[in-house]
């Protein structure tokens, strides 16, 4: 089981959390001008990164807050955890 560091509660078991997919996806402001392809890209297309990946989790059975972590999808090592609205630690980011 993963041990996930919640920015508020500290390290807890994975069973207390729910997964929220890729982090830092922003809703396009001009949605009325987007083509179907661009809108589908925002809605459905996600990365399938091998290696360091920024993703969202919710501490569903704890403080019920959303937050982001950086997890290596190969080793499952979690190297950063930060609150929603904060930027990832320097030099980190999902590839465009």
């Amino acid at each position: 089981m993963l041990q996930i560091p919640c920015p508020w509660c500290g390290i807890r078991d994975e069973s207390e959390f729910s997964y929220g997919g890729e982090a830092h996806i922003t809703r396009p402001l001009n949605s009325e001008n987007l083509t179907d392809e661009e809108w589908a890209d925002y809605l459905f297309m996600r990365k399938n990164t091998r290696g360091a990946f920024l993703e969202q989790w919710q501490h569903a059975q704890g403080c019920r807050r959303w937050f982001n972590i950086q997890r290596d999808t190969v080793s499952y090592k979690i190297s950063a955890s930060y609150k929603v609205g904060e930027q990832p630690p320097q030099g980190m980011g999902n590839e465009k």
Partner: protein
């Protein structure tokens, strides 16, 4: 009408007498306490002042995953903008009205959730061993001491676990619909200490 007049708690079907033969564990239900869920923004000075005037607690100094006793009220940290206030039986309405008046015009909410949950108090030298059977967080006093609380799982049921006395006395706040299940689980799990 409050539950007090109806006289039936969520744990009414659990036979607490059975815990009397369990060594090192004293288990009781704290029935019909008032539970108020409070939400608001910590960076709103008017909100913090209204709360501190009403119940004498500085929310800004209440650390994450701790609780504090103020006069008759217990205030638990539930989240960065969410707290639980536990009052003695039948005082929740009065406190709710006081808070709602004090918080008029301030972005916040006070919700009476008293009938939705109840409190189980577990104490004794085997209390920690009993809870550890179904809980994955470290309950050793170096990690989880008096004044700490944690929202976590106890045998898969979502609970708010708090330490009244390090390593010896705990309180579990459990939702009404899970209370019977947890009561039976505690009874089953404590059979080893009989």
């Amino acid at each position: 009408m409050s539950d007090l007049q109806n006289g039936e708690s969520p744990l009414v079907q659990i036979d607490f007498n059975q815990f009397e033969k369990v060594k090192g564990i004293k288990l009781t239900e704290l029935k019909f306490q008032g539970h108020l869920n409070l939400r608001g923004r910590l960076n709103d000075k008017a909100f913090c002042k209204a709360i501190s005037d009403a119940i004498g607690v500085e929310l800004t100094s209440l650390k994450a995953n701790t609780f504090i006793l103020s006069e008759d009220f217990k205030v638990y940290w539930l989240g960065p903008d969410e707290w639980l206030i536990v009052t003695p039986p039948d005082q929740q309405l009065e406190l709710k009205n006081t808070l709602q008046q004090a918080l008029q015009g301030i972005f916040s909410s006070v919700t009476d959730v008293s009938s939705g949950q109840t409190i189980i108090s577990i104490s004794g030298f085997n209390a920690r061993s009993l809870i550890e059977k179904g809980c994955t967080i470290d309950l050793h006093p170096r990690q989880f001491k008096k004044g700490d609380c944690a929202q976590t799982h106890l045998s898969k049921a979502t609970v708010l676990l708090s330490v009244v006395k390090s390593s010896e006395a705990f309180e579990i706040i459990i939702r009404r619909s899970f209370a019977d299940y947890l009561g039976l689980w505690l009874l089953d799990s404590s059979s080893e200490f009989v």
